[in-house]
Symmetry: C2
Subunit: 337 residues, 2 copies
Amino acid sequence: MKAVGFKSSLPIVEENSFIDFETDKPVPVQHQLLVKIRAISVNPVDFKIRQSAAKDSVLEHPKIIGWDAVGTVEAIGENVSLFKVGDEVYYAGDLTKQGSNAEYQVIDERIVGKKPTTLSDEASAVIPLTALTAWEILFDRMRLSLEKDKGKSILIIGGAGGVGSIAIQLAKKLLGLTVIATASRPESIAWCKEMGADVVVNHQDLVNEVRNEGFQFVDFILDFVDTNFYWDSMAELIKPQGHIASITGSALPLLLNKLKTKSVSFSWELMYTRSMFQTEDMIQQHHILNQVADLLDEGVLVGTLKETLHGLSADVLKKAHTQLESGKTIGKLAIKF
Amino acid sequence: MKAVGFKSSLPIVEENSFIDFETDKPVPVQHQLLVKIRAISVNPVDFKIRQSAAKDSVLEHPKIIGWDAVGTVEAIGENVSLFKVGDEVYYAGDLTKQGSNAEYQVIDERIVGKKPTTLSDEASAVIPLTALTAWEILFDRMRLSLEKDKGKSILIIGGAGGVGSIAIQLAKKLLGLTVIATASRPESIAWCKEMGADVVVNHQDLVNEVRNEGFQFVDFILDFVDTNFYWDSMAELIKPQGHIASITGSALPLLLNKLKTKSVSFSWELMYTRSMFQTEDMIQQHHILNQVADLLDEGVLVGTLKETLHGLSADVLKKAHTQLESGKTIGKLAIKF
């Protein structure tokens, strides 16, 4: 099969930052589906892995990355029970396995959902990683519920990015929260409002920006940009008994004690935790993706696709990574094969 | 009225570490109750405040500390609606107000509960601070529920202390968790088992101790001893998607990033947050104390009183603090006036 990968971690402008190559079509075993891929998406994790996975060595075989795909089930492993050949599926995948930058991929059925029926391949392909991340934060890590939390406030730092775009919608439409999102350019501000944000503030001078909008404190904060950079602002803005969550990791130690007097909680979210540790509740990702597909088909949630590139090739992936690395991507970028 | 307090932060062995004095009986206003106190308890926060509140200066008036009391409502403020004169009450109080080491105290009705009817004054007096702390951790910070969490595992570091003693019971009896508590002496091990712990392990070599009992990971960890000291062990032992909570604060920065790959959550709990920030849901402490009183009266929870001293005096408070500072107190210590 055709695939795109890399043998060395190179700057994206280098000729071999991505290479086209041929490799064997994988064979599904046990709970795996073999999926013929029709569209994929790219996420910041893609370029982080590309920049670091082969930094000090040259790999013998090219590494295939990519975590987001839509396609058709072409074969199934012996223990598969959730899907059959011919099913249209979408998924974000598993960090420890081959990625979706290829014609075919095998994938554990427990982290796969049915593709939304009303969305195009490319619009569906951009959903899984971001929707799983935002859903897991709000419902699994923070354990929020409409019943308990309706009417409370949430600040979403990085509202116009991929995870931000879907987090705004889940917070607003499923939890009834008042959503304050950060964005700084006219087009990203407009996008956040389109996604459902009640208020959009500039991330510069964040504390004053939020307070000028009438929020002394906010009940919840999601950080999709930089935990270290925003730590002091978040500690200042979070309401007593509030909850902060982040997906970014922290390069430097954090003064967690700043959250003590307010009895604040903090959650990390990594969408790969379930598949990486093969947790007992791994199948939750199957259920989440199905629920998200239903919510998209019912029009409760709207798609977050902003731009589509065409073709599975090193050149197209270089374009996609270049754009993503700029840090200015609004919503999501898809690649249709 | 008679009261005990201090003007300087002195070692407990010093003559003036506590002093007896007379002061005006306070007058209740607004939501306050005037309570005639019959029994109190002491908690580690008491000696921490005594050791630090007047470290670099001599106070003009003695500071009255103490957060746990049982007594009778003798007068009420104009907005009181939850209690009437003559009611028997118990409460932990407010860090920013006069404490319970006195004959009388005014206290906001929203943080007061009805005294358990089946427990003695001294057995009731030791409950509020520890029960509020443990309850808020499990139900408000971590948002655990019998429905979602029954059968999961919890490690309680410092099981035989005041908060540990009630946390073991709440985790076991209200949430159906499997409780692993730490304790190291024969009498503290026996006490943890009496409180309901399924397994008791030594805090030394904690990771191996827990694993030797058959738990590779635990779903939840409560730290009542030292967040910095146990950080690495907790990061190792916590299950992917697990939740850690602590009441101790951290003197040094913590490598929060150690919890990232596992998508772990961390909560601080400070029982004073609600009263200190006058949160909208401050009345929850009233509801929690009433529920705990019912659970004690129904025999679902058992008392945690281990020892009683007698009389309101500087000498008795010195004895109580000396014992608490040893770090070896099992269960709780009361003082009956």
